[in-house]
């Protein structure tokens, strides 16, 4: 093997300088051991949360009294809004809506819960009267407006649709181009518009 060139040596020095692995970070707690499975995507987080909701509801609260919900809260894995200190505070009053929550989604649940009069946080009359927002329920609804059609290739207004590839096109020249596309390419054009076929 040849000796490293000057550029290689300089690059190695730069990398060593940039590396933060070898630097001792005195500001970090030496006892910090993160949960190995803390990385979750949104889907998992929402799924876990709604499962948690369901399990709270399934627990027979009448029989076990306050002990069961408290145990759930203290398990350290609590992720949902329902297991926060606010939940036991409402006590028996929350029992009735809780039973109805079993089959509902998290967003509906949160919405309902916030409809309960609570005097929390000095939020003022405006905010507290409205249902509380969650990550899922603030998402914009589908548009009610009529969507315009644009050529999948050129982006120009598209009055035509190729029945074979399902692509929209602007004029006959673009049509000729569409027909000359290799296999699979029309599907990619559709994917850019979110109209492709998804096989599961």
């Amino acid at each position: 093997m040849s000796a490293p060139t000057e550029a290689q040596i300089a690059h190695q020095e730069l990398i060593d300088q940039l590396d933060i692995h070898s630097i001792h970070k005195s500001f970090r707690s030496p006892h910090w051991r993160p949960n190995q499975r803390r990385n979750k995507n949104i889907k998992t987080i929402l799924g876990d949360a709604s499962r948690k909701e369901a399990s709270i509801v399934a627990t027979p609260q009448d029989d076990s009294g306050a002990a069961t919900p408290a145990a759930i809260e203290n398990d350290g894995l609590s992720t949902s809004g329902a297991s926060t200190p606010a939940a036991p505070a409402s006590g028996a009053a929350s029992l009735q809506p809780n039973l109805a929550q079993a089959s509902r989604s998290l967003s509906r649940l949160a919405l309902e819960k916030s409809l309960r009069p609570n005097g929390s946080g000095g939020a003022g009359g405006v905010a507290s009267s409205a249902p509380s927002a969650t990550y899922t329920n603030i998402e914009s609804a589908p548009s009610l407006a009529h969507s315009r059609r644009y050529c999948d290739v050129t982006g120009l207004p598209a009055p035509y649709l190729d029945p074979k590839s399902r692509l929209r096109y602007h004029n006959i020249e673009v049509f000729g181009y569409i027909r000359s596309l290799p296999q699979g390419a029309p599907e990619q054009y559709l994917e850019a518009r979110g109209a492709h076929t998804i096989l599961k």
Binding site: W32, A127, A130, S143
Partner: protein, 759 residues
């Protein structure tokens, strides 16, 4: 030679082809490709911490705007964030050195190996952190560079963090865990970035429109208090726009030799895209030729020019000379050899003539001896040899002189042919046979010559008739040519259609072809046979064989090409005639011009308003942005363009203003209209505010007091607002201390005006 060329009056009658005018093009606007690069090493800045320690306790904090495009961090008492880094990290182990490397932020781009290991803290396309290891690394880097490594065991400064609008409880819990347990911070305050930006821009009541890197939010704010329950999120931001642009460019140039990545698309988006004020009108004429020059933007990717060795004039001349020289040498050699052979033959001839003379006055015995010495059978043999030699000598001589031996050859005598066989001896018969052959040969040659002459005369006659017709009845002649041209065009079209049809297995053309193949291949009795005789008569008609030609079309490319050349050549000749004599027919009307790039919409789309040189490496490595410049930013107003099934920004804003904010007691809807506030990197597009104004005006009552303003710095104002907020009364009530966190739980926060509610 064609007679028309020698004939001066005729050649004068053929007018020259009109020359089309050459167009010149102004130089294109070419921009170099830009992408995220490693700039330089960021040294730790301990001075910030020293200043912070000097401040009275509680008034200084580390402010981190934890955004998905960039994490911006600095000290609350400063006016600018000190650090800005993308929320990424790269970690890998160098096996050769036995060392683990990890980088964060833009440092990841310094090394190729590191670049391959980049991971993002945020879930792609959202504002939610999903990879906490990366997040921790990014925070490590941030704290290191802020000079916090002198702190022992914990970060001894309060921290202010921004988080997503209605952050997920799990995310908040994980973040709190890291801040309090890993870094041991004394307190943490969280808030929403766009609200910090609004606060920094002195907003009280209004509609905050925050279009940032991973999402777009519309949040009404009343008396400095966000009404999060009325907020709406659209899942579209700079990240999605860049990905969409990237997708479009990959589809537009499927064979692009350079590597396209999202960071390049982000730069293109930032530099060249803008929001159209009237999208439908503008896009309709976007690829029109007039003004395309201004609308088309060229992005040049790096390339290496192919080296073409330019030979100097002198060198070329020398090369040609060398070639000529060697040719001459060969010719000389050949001539020399020919001469030698000729001399030898002449000597032979001389010798045999001598022999013949000797034979003339020799007796029989002597003759026999002489002939035997020469290996000859008899005198006739000798005579023949002499004759042959004479002929070849003559031929060689004429060749050297340069005459045509064929022409000069006189008609050989065929006198023996008329003599009946029985009057001839053996030698005579042989000679007669030879003469017959020669005669046939001679006659055939003469016939071919006559035929050639006749053909020449016929063409001449045709041309003359054509000319005559043109001179007498120009209109009729032109009409004929036009019809012929249209016919050729139609045939070209038909052929193309047939070709396309044969490509489709289900088309009629393909099916007919398959049928004839099956018919030809089958040995068994055919349908025909049942009707008629046993023989199908295939081949009786010459046209029958055409079936093989038919089934070969489409597979046999050379055959196909030949036909194409023929049609195109025909068309070209017809068009030349029309160009010469028809004043209304110009170069613009020719088939070539009609199918030229300057008539092609797709050419305008792919290559802009200039001809495309396939051979130029520089042009192959160019991307043309034209329609995309308004198509991509438009998605935030019409998400359906990119297949996002959500309402557009205008629809969302007008829904909030017209539906959600009316009917709430003590609230005047018009207060919000007076201050529509734009913040976030995705609102930086030119005309973004105009477009929103137009859209909202259309959905509001006529004299609504609509006012739209942009943040003074849509990108950094969130951090600045957060920094300014530190020390205010709102900040003091919003901070969660370590003790409170330990007592109240993982995702505990205090509700405040600029933050999320505690669900």
């Amino acid at each position: 030679m064609a007679p028309s060329a020698i004939d001066p009056p005729v050649s004068a009658a053929v007018p020259a082809l009109p020359v089309p005018d050459e167009k010149t093009y102004p130089p294109a606007r070419i921009y170099p490709m830009k992408e995220m690069r490693f700039e330089k090493h960021t040294p730790p800045q301990p001075d910030g911490r020293e200043k912070a320690l000097a401040q009275s306790s509680g008034s200084a904090a580390i402010v981190i705007d934890n955004g998905s495009s960039a994490v911006r961090a600095g000290w609350s008492f400063e006016s600018q964030p000190r650090l800005s880094l993308p929320p990424i990290m790269a970690k890998y182990r160098d096996r050769k050195l036995g060392k683990t490397y990890s980088f964060a932020g833009a440092d990841c781009y310094a090394d190729t190996t590191a670049r391959g290991h980049i991971r993002n803290a945020f879930e792609a396309g959202t504002n939610i952190v999903s990879n906490w290891d990366v997040m921790e690394h990014v925070l490590d880097w941030t704290f290191l560079k802020l000079g916090m490594n002198s702190a022992e065991g914990s970060i001894d400064m309060p921290i202010v963090l921004t988080e997503a609008v209605v952050n997920l409880p799990y995310s908040r819990k994980s973040m709190n865990e890291i801040i309090f347990e890993c870094y041991g911070a004394p307190s943490l305050a969280t808030g929403i970035d766009s609200l910090f930006s609004y606060r920094y821009n002195k907003g009280q009541t209004g509609l905050v429109v925050s279009s940032s890197y991973s999402s777009t939010h519309v949040i009404p704010v009343y008396n400095s208090k966000a009404m999060l329950a009325q907020a709406i999120r659209l899942n579209w931001g700079g990240y999605q726009a860049a990905e969409y642009l990237l997708k479009l460019m990959r589809l537009k140039y499927p064979a692009f030799p350079g590597k396209l990545n999202a960071s390049q698309a982000e730069n293109m988006l930032r530099d060249h895209c803008y929001v159209s004020k009237a999208y439908d009108d503008e896009i309709r004429s976007y690829l029109d030729w007039s003004g395309l020059e201004d609308r088309d933007v060229v992005i040049q990717y790096p390339y290496t020019e192919e080296v073409i060795i330019q030979k100097s004039e002198e060198e070329l001349a020398r090369q040609a000379e060398r070639k000529k020289e060697s040719g001459r040498r060969l010719q000389e050699q050949a001539a020399k050899m020919r001469l030698e052979r000729l001399v030898r033959k002449e000597q032979d001839l001389e010798y045999y003539k001598n022999v013949q003379e000797k034979l003339a006055d020799a007796n029989k015995k002597e003759t026999k001896r002489l002939l035997d010495a020469e290996d000859m059978k008899d005198e006739a043999h000798l005579e023949r040899t002499i004759k042959e030699l004479e002929k070849s000598v003559k031929k060689a001589r004429t060749k050297d002189v340069g005459g045509d031996p064929e022409e000069e050859q006189d008609v050989p005598s065929f006198e023996l042919l008329d003599v009946p066989d029985d009057q001839l001896d053996d030698a005579g018969l042989k000679q007669k046979r030879q003469q017959r052959l020669m005669k046939a040969n001679h006659d055939a040659r003469a016939r071919a010559k006559a035929e050639k002459e006749a053909e020449k005369a016929r063409v001449e006659e045709e041309e003359r008739a054509d000319r005559e017709r043109r001179e007498n009845d120009l209109e009729g002649w032109l009409e004929e040519k036009r019809v012929a041209r249209n016919d050729t065009l139609q045939r070209i079209k038909d052929r193309d259609r047939l070709k396309a049809d044969l490509g489709n297995r289900k088309s009629l053309a393909s099916q007919i072809r398959m049928k004839s193949i099956a018919n030809l291949a089958s040995d068994g009795p055919r349908v025909k046979r049942r009707r008629g005789g046993d023989d199908d008569n295939f081949g009786a008609n010459d046209d029958d064989w055409g079936v093989y030609r038919q089934i070969a079309v489409g597979e046999n490319a050379s055959d196909d090409e030949e036909g194409e050349e023929d049609l195109l050549g025909n068309l070209k000749m017809l068009e030349e005639d029309l160009l010469r004599y028809d004043e209304s027919f110009t170069h613009e009307d020719t088939f070539e011009a009609q199918t030229n790039w300057s008539k092609s919409l797709l050419h305008a789309f792919l290559r802009g308003p200039r001809p495309f040189n396939v051979g130029a490496q520089s042009e192959i490595h160019q991307l043309h942005l034209n329609v995309e410049r308004i198509r991509v930013p438009e998605v935030v107003f019409q998400p359906s363009i990119a297949g996002v099934d959500q309402a557009g920004l205008v629809e969302i804003a007008s829904d909030i203003l017209n539906q959600r904010l009316v009917g709430i007691p003590n609230i005047n809807r018009d207060d919000f209209l007076r201050d529509v506030f734009l913040t976030g990197g995705n609102t930086l597009f030119e005309n973004f505010d105009d477009r929103l104004r137009q859209g909202l005006t259309a959905s509001l009552p006529a004299d609504s007091p609509l006012r739209i303003r942009r943040a003074s710095d849509p990108v950094l104002d969130a951090w600045k607002g957060a920094a300014e907020w530190v020390g205010s009364s709102g900040y003091k009530t919003a901070t969660v201390t370590r003790a409170e966190w330990q007592e109240k739980g993982g995702d505990y926060i205090k509700e405040h005006e600029l933050g999320n509610s505690y669900a």
